[in-house]
Amino acid sequence: MDQIWGNTTQYTEIVWGWQIAVYLFLAGLSAGALISAILVKWRSNLAEGYDGIMKAGALVALPAISLGLALLVVDLGKPFSFWLLMFHFNLKSVMSIGVILLSVYSGLMTVFAAVIFKEKFAENSLTAWAFRPFLFIVEWFEGLGKWFDWVMVVLAIGIAAYTGFLLSALVAKPLLNVPVLPLLFLVSGISSGVAGCIAVSILFFKQSVQESNLKYLLSLDTKLIPTELFILFVMFIGLFNMGGQYAIVGQQALTIGVWAKVFWGGIIGIGLIGPLLVVTFSLHQYEQSDHAPIPVGSLLINSALVLTGVILLRFYMLYAGQIFI
């Protein structure tokens, strides 16, 4: 429609698109996978070597955060000026705090992965020449033991939660401007990390996976999913109770167009109810039994459902949050 005041595309355009949605997912996935790996570390006997789940955690967390950072840079209006973010800080800006967190996190994440795959890197002829000069740094961090673990856990919680604060700081976007958003992203991030760790560990490190650890993570996920459902419930009831534009936007986001379908079918259906059904009807038996073989198929389906739900949640919040204002 032609209006005398001209084109209005700029006023309806999505400013933060799929790159940012995928980044939000990857940041949560990375943090969640790292937390899973450390939780497993704390209940393992390290003399028997690292559990396959820890290896999976490192293998998921490092590429996830690296790819996420690449997406962030590519999405900038001036991608080649990203270095400006490291020379000008504004501690009132959640994004600037995020830059600081991400710098520390991705650096230490690399060290964490190097600790876990130390032997592999030091012995493989392709990597040894580059790795050995830094071995003393890796071993120093390894020597820190639980101290290093705790720093990583705190950083991971910071990364997962900051992606929520990044959006909840936006007064202009009622759907995002809710206090529980960081908590929602933290819980769903950990849930995705658990799912990622389970899937990668049984696909690539099955020999070194201890089943008690696998069952531990599985039961953790069956607690996280109802928690996530409850947080979503709290969030929307909160929006309705806040009234005004918040209530209008809350209702629109649950009832209008493709994003309402994504919410009910994708996030609630596939991502939350789906895994609960798989756990109830297939994996529960395995959790309770001492002799059943690892149900690889059901576990992979479960992980795929959880990961699909979590990525859809990021897309939904980001897009519906920008559309319904």
Binding site: W16, G77, K78, N90, K92, G98, A169, L170, A172
Partner: protein
């Protein structure tokens, strides 16, 4: 007397929606095709016959005192200058878009050519600094726009504000805009 604090009064009753302000803005600030710093939207007819009304809405930066676009900027490229005008430092801006999503007035856009956030500046660099009025104010054929110093109680804008009831867009957000609006006095209830 301290610093100036520039503001603009928009009389939506005097406005005829001719878009001369928008065209003047494009020319003066070399605004790229497909994006706007300024539009005048004609909204309506609203209400039920015979109580109909047409509203005019100036869509542009409202120059908040507490601008949400400023604290969110990770590099400090988005700032409020000493005369109360919210500006973008093109050299510091990386084009992350945070200020665009943070603005409750949809005043900002990512410039398609430079990749930098941009918006209305009240023509600060190109006109106001030279003691000229913003282009939109100078061109307005019905004098619907008054520009001036809100800290000077003798300025034309302050005198005009004292004479009549005014509103600010989305006042509940506590952004305290310096674009002040004389709302529609004609027509029906809404």
């Amino acid at each position: 007397m301290g610093n100036k604090r520039y503001g603009m009064l928009y009389d939506s009753n005097a406005c005829i929606g001719c878009q001369a302000c928008s065209i003047a803005c494009r020319g003066e600030n070399k605004v790229h095709d497909d994006v706007h710093r300024l539009q005048v939207r004609i909204e309506g007819p609203k209400g039920e016959y015979p109580n109909l009304r047409m509203d005019f809405h100036r869509q542009s930066c409202v120059m908040c005192d507490n601008a949400p676009c400023v604290p969110v900027c990770p590099t400090g490229a988005s700032y409020t200058n000493e005369e109360g005008i919210n500006m973008v430092d093109e050299k510091k801006c990386v084009g992350c878009g945070y200020c665009i999503t943070a603005c409750p007035y949809q005043a900002r856009y990512l410039d398609p050519k430079t990749g930098v956030a941009d918006k209305c500046t009240f023509c600060y660099e190109n006109r106001v600094k030279q003691d000229e009025k913003p282009a939109c104010v100078s061109i307005c054929p019905t004098n619907a726009l008054i520009f001036g110093d809100l800290n000077d109680s003798n300025s034309e804008i302050c005198k005009a504000i004292k004479k009549q009831a005014t509103v600010k867009y989305k006042e509940s957000l506590n952004t305290n805009p310096k674009l002040i609006v004389i709302p529609n006095r004609h027509g029906g209830e809404k």
